[in-house]
Symmetry: C2
Subunit: 407 residues, 2 copies
Amino acid sequence: MTPFRVGLLGHGTVGGALHELIDARADAIEATTGMRPEISGVLTRSRGEFADIVERSDLVVELIGGLEPAREYILHAMRAGRHVVTANKQVLAEHGEELYEAAREAGVQLRFEAAVGGVVPVIRVIHETLAAAHIDRVHGIVNGTTNFILTEMTRTGMGYAEALAQAQELGFAEADPSDDVSGRDAAAKMAIIARLAFNARVTIDEVAYEGIERITADDIEYAKELGLSLKLLGTAERLDGGVSVRVHPAFLYGSHPLAAVNGSFNAVTIESPAITEITLSGPGAGGSQTASAVLGDVISAMIPPTTLPAPAVETPLVPDVRSAFYLSLEVADEPGVLAQVAEILGLQGVSVKSVVQKGLGEDARLAMVVHPVLESRFMAAVHLIGQLPFLRSAPRPIRVIEETFEE
Amino acid sequence: MTPFRVGLLGHGTVGGALHELIDARADAIEATTGMRPEISGVLTRSRGEFADIVERSDLVVELIGGLEPAREYILHAMRAGRHVVTANKQVLAEHGEELYEAAREAGVQLRFEAAVGGVVPVIRVIHETLAAAHIDRVHGIVNGTTNFILTEMTRTGMGYAEALAQAQELGFAEADPSDDVSGRDAAAKMAIIARLAFNARVTIDEVAYEGIERITADDIEYAKELGLSLKLLGTAERLDGGVSVRVHPAFLYGSHPLAAVNGSFNAVTIESPAITEITLSGPGAGGSQTASAVLGDVISAMIPPTTLPAPAVETPLVPDVRSAFYLSLEVADEPGVLAQVAEILGLQGVSVKSVVQKGLGEDARLAMVVHPVLESRFMAAVHLIGQLPFLRSAPRPIRVIEETFEE
């Protein structure tokens, strides 16, 4: 077993989740990379010694946040020949050039997917998928707290203060929410995105930003009348031979890909002539989401991203699965039809969720949705129903996907 | 200048677009990678010689499609030590294990982002971003032709045959559409996705698939009444210690992230406990989109995906940008108010798109949206409006994003 030693700076929510995730996935990672990740040291306020942890690590994960000592630690680790993965948007938005330059000089990797967009892989997509593309514009909802607040204001009609208090209660906003609600957090992320997308030196000081503190329930109500939805929107675009990077509340028409991104979700739309646009969406930063993004970066630093699937493991194919179904039946419009159909379904253990019946002259159409059931059971019922004398055409089942996502 | 020689097998729509894209982006790619991509040979039915092209290439792009001679060419090129990039879903869904194994033995890269999901980077996200994640399920709309047809049927109420004919006319369906409408194309893509997501050996023969040929306008109409939207859905999921991979028409509730994916777009939702889910969407395969995905793979094969932005190029920040605005004004409800506001806007060159006025006892609220205008002009008008004597509170402007996307 070849170990891959990961030093951890900071052990809060994300650090703790990363520690657990590495333990849980070490076998799988070893199978893919040939190396087994292990935590070689942890630095917190009360324990660990920085120089010692660097000494004993192949890669350092910086999860302290803020400017100092994060900047100093990252520089020191890289100059000592260690790869660095960070989730620290502030230090990248402020000191990015210095850090990128130091990584280049030291010949080490500096990865930072977790600094932007929660689990949404915007850095990787810009950097790799679109490596050859000329990107014109990136629009992003890159702050989950403000999107949660605006979504609640829109959904319930409540005012800003009330929605903020609720977000704080539910853990979607911090006790001091100013970095989020002022737009500054989003501005830092848009600065990092603009640097990558346009290869332009943009720091947070050059990003104009406005927050959501002035938004009223009335604004949202009136906007609804105009068919608009309100988001805190980051924009980075090429314009007149230069670039513009800004964050501000903005109304979007319903057809915009970001208009339906609700709750604490983040989403980014990347526009380029060759591809039209790509939209990426997913949960904003939470402990386990951020840890997952960090670990993706750690693995990419361990080995160049693999181009191949690992050798396959024998896995049985499951032949029969549960699904809800829609079933449409054209039948003669006579008494007892629904009863006979229902009886067959009942005997096969199929439970009906909803039915619509419509007369069509002498015939009728029954359209129903049934609760999830093993496909084989449902198809057996459909086969029997297909033999009923009053049926006017073959029954037509279509699967229904039941689950919806929490946002 | 270090050249990076790309041999091109096939020169149809995608090959032609790739050739153009490489020419257009060679400078940018050289700046990032230190190597300059150049087409070292092209094989078509009428010109070129395969062995000769392999000899003169560092990497071979296979765009012939189908099983043979594509399989043989890919194997031969890899055994000769060449990296391969392919957009060929058939050969991967049928002979994937053999090809992956050959790449491993030869120590070369085999990349195939363009084979699945158009420009949506599903392979890269599963392989890299989620390298450490335990993926539970992937849902995908991975065939643009069928999604276009179903969207048109839903939008207009037309029948399947008519919608297919229209898709053919507009170039969204081929003259022989059977591979698409039968679900077989989507099945091949889901087999490739399942292989990567679950590390399970899945070939297209093991994917159960149904197409959209039996779907009627009535099905869609009835489903609308039940609040459902109809998609040709690919599903790959872990189930009972095994996996299930299937493609079939399915109704989705409106809250499902794939329910709103319309037209020829592709989208994929990847579910994993650590991240909840990520949704990726973008245009389905078109010549330039596929070429862009291929080129992203070519660049990743040239150098391990870069972790750092290239040194920054001096780029001016544009201080003043055009935007549409929403403006909310609380005013005294007296004659001439709207006229004075309109006059100020007009003098600054601001053109009003829509206005809503509402009485609130002695006061009134004016909410308006104006056409795009330079921010400085609009803010100058807002400043002047803010000084009008009948204003009850400070004017509150919010930007409006005007553009909507063609799907």
